[in-house]
Each structure stands twice: as structure tokens, then as C-alpha cells.
Symmetry: C2
Subunit: 188 residues, 2 copies
């Protein structure tokens, strides 16, 4: 990548992080280009689709979570590992308002720029769920895709401003349903 191209790419990503944080996943791409002092065509050259831009915003976090999960599999109890992953997974998918729908759609759309990240989340969750089920701490009538859907639904809940105060409680309700037993006690 040429030096000036890299500069534009970085600037676009940095501006996009702010704009998408403020306006959500359907923020104006024109606005991003404008604030980055870059032609509209330049944005489209670097990020051919909205998904490509969102993907670039999420990649670091998704990769980090995937890496963390590998460690969790070895160092933690299956239940605690899954719970930790659930928390991180929900946190990432609702980091930017409105990405949840995009992520859900991308799970089955191999053309989507978000597809790889989705599959990574899905597969990691599936593995941790399998372990928890084998250990007898997770209900066995759901699979990895069900778990992914519950994560997405929870992320959607966190996206709703009017539910901000009870989102953590609803997380406990749903995660407690996946991992029955004593209350999940996620508060510190």
C-alpha cells in the first residue's frame, strides 16, 4: 500500500470509529469521508461495503476474543470459560449500536465482509459450549448456533437505551438458562 493510501486508510478508520460510535452501524458514510477530509470514492476504494468498514472496526476485538478463548479452554472450568466468553462476546457485538443485525445476517452470507468474524465467534462459542455440555454444566438441548443467537439477542438488548439499567440482569437470566445451577452471580 502506498504511503498516502495508508494515511487515508488509517484516517478513515479512526474517524469511522468515532462516527459509528455516535450514530450506530447505519451512520452516514458520506459523513465519515467528509470528516476524514477524503474523497467519497477513496472511502469506497478502501471499504467497498459498509460491512467491510464495520469489519475493520471489529477485527481487533474479535481476534482478541478468539485468542482469549483458547487460553480459557485450558486454564478455566468449562462453566467459567463459557461465561467469560459470553460476556466478552456480547460486549463486542454491541460495541457499536446496530451491528447485531449485520452480524446475524453475515453468519450465513459467505460474501459478506463480516462473515469470517462471525464464523470465528460462532465456532469459538460452539467449542466452549461443547466442553461445558460434556462437563455437564450446560444444557444440552441447544447448539452453537442457538448460543450465537442468544448472544446476538442479548447484544440487541444492550443496544436499547431504555433497557440500559436491566441489560445486565437480562444477561444473567439468559446465561443462567444456558448454564443452569446456582445463580450466575456476575457482579463483583
Amino acid at each position: 500500500m502506498r504511503a498516502d493510501a495508508k494515511k487515508n486508510y488509517d484516517r478513515l478508520l479512526s474517524v469511522a470509529r468515532d462516527v459509528v460510535t455516535e450514530h450506530g452501524a447505519d451512520a452516514s458514510l458520506r459523513d465519515v469521508a467528509r470528516k476524514a477530509d477524503v474523497g467519497l470514492g477513496t472511502l469506497y476504494r478502501h471499504f467497498p461495503t459498509r460491512e467491510a468498514l464495520i469489519e475493520a472496526l471489529l477485527r481487533t476485538e474479535v481476534d482478541g476474543l478468539t485468542a482469549q478463548a483458547a487460553g480459557l479452554e485450558e486454564s478455566s472450568e468449562p462453566k467459567e470459560a463459557l461465561l467469560t466468553w459470553l460476556r466478552g462476546s456480547v460486549a463486542i457485538t454491541h460495541e457499536y449500536r446496530g451491528v447485531t443485525g449485520l452480524l446475524m445476517a453475515a453468519l450465513e452470507d459467505s460474501e459478506s465482509a463480516l462473515h469470517a468474524s462471525c464464523v470465528a465467534l460462532h465456532d469459538t462459542g460452539t467449542r466452549l459450549l461443547d466442553h461445558a455440555q460434556a462437563a455437564g454444566v450446560a444444557r444440552t438441548d441447544i447448539d452453537g448456533t442457538d448460543l450465537f443467537a442468544l448472544v446476538a439477542a442479548l447484544a440487541w438488548v444492550y443496544d436499547q437505551p431504555s433497557l440500559a439499567l436491566r441489560a445486565d440482569h437480562l444477561f444473567d437470566v439468559i446465561s443462567g438458562s444456558v448454564l443452569p445451577g446456582q445463580e450466575t452471580a456476575r457482579s463483583a
Copy 2:
């Protein structure tokens, strides 16, 4: 209402039902007016906001569900009553793709045209939940607003095309968590 106005109103509503069914809650209002052979200003006169239009589309069903719930309170077991209401409630809120977010936002926005319908759903659900809790068949650590949020989250799940095949299963998972069955006969 003048006769010609009523004709336009009815035509708009009928066209809107088709267009919103096809394109979801963020369908083009211009498109609705065009297909109804009505000026754009006429649409805005009858439905000053998008919420007002959606509200007109949902009103009949919401009222029907509220009326049905009154009957359920008397004729059914508290558990079955709540379960029936949950099913109906989810069905209504995902009848048109994407209304779930609007409904959730309208719960706390008394200016929204959807506010009354939201409150009706919320309050009916709360009453049925209270009864079920009093009868000892529903968990007692959630309130009516939590229930409303779970209904909305489920409706969101039903809205996702990629989850169509497992939405019913996820409904069972979550409703089973609200109304625990025999498998939760365990020490607390």
C-alpha cells in the same frame, strides 16, 4: 372526516400493510404514497410520523391481544395464560420486520404514537406475570419490564431470516426460563 379523506386514509393503510410487510419498518414512505396514488403531503397529514403509521397497522392486533388476555386471566391456569400471551405478543411485535426497535424506544417515549400500544402490551404482560408469580409458576426475580424486554428480544430473533428455523426453539428456551418446569425442582 370527509369522505375523500377517509378514502385516502384507508387506501394508505392498505398499501402500507403490503409495503411494510415486504420492506420492514423502514420502508419508504414515498413509496407508500406513490403506490396509494396519493400526494406525499396527504400521507404526512394522516400519519405525521412513521410511528403513527406503524401504530395504525398494529392497533387492531394489540387491542385484540389485550382483550384476549382479560379472558385468559379468568379461564386459564396462570402458567398457560402467560405462555399464550407470550406467544401472541411475540407474534404481534415481529409481524412487521424491524418494528421491535421502534416499540422498545416507544416504551419510555410518551410522545411516540406507539407509546399507548407499548404500554398496553407492557401492562397486560405485567399483570399475567404477577399472577403466575403469585401462583408460584414463574420466577420471581424478573418484573414486567424484563418480560417485555424478553418478548422484544424474541421478536428480534424471529425477525432474523437466518434464525427462522430455530426461533421457535429459542422461544421455548427463554419462556422456559421465565416459567421453569419440573427440571428446576431444586434447592435454591
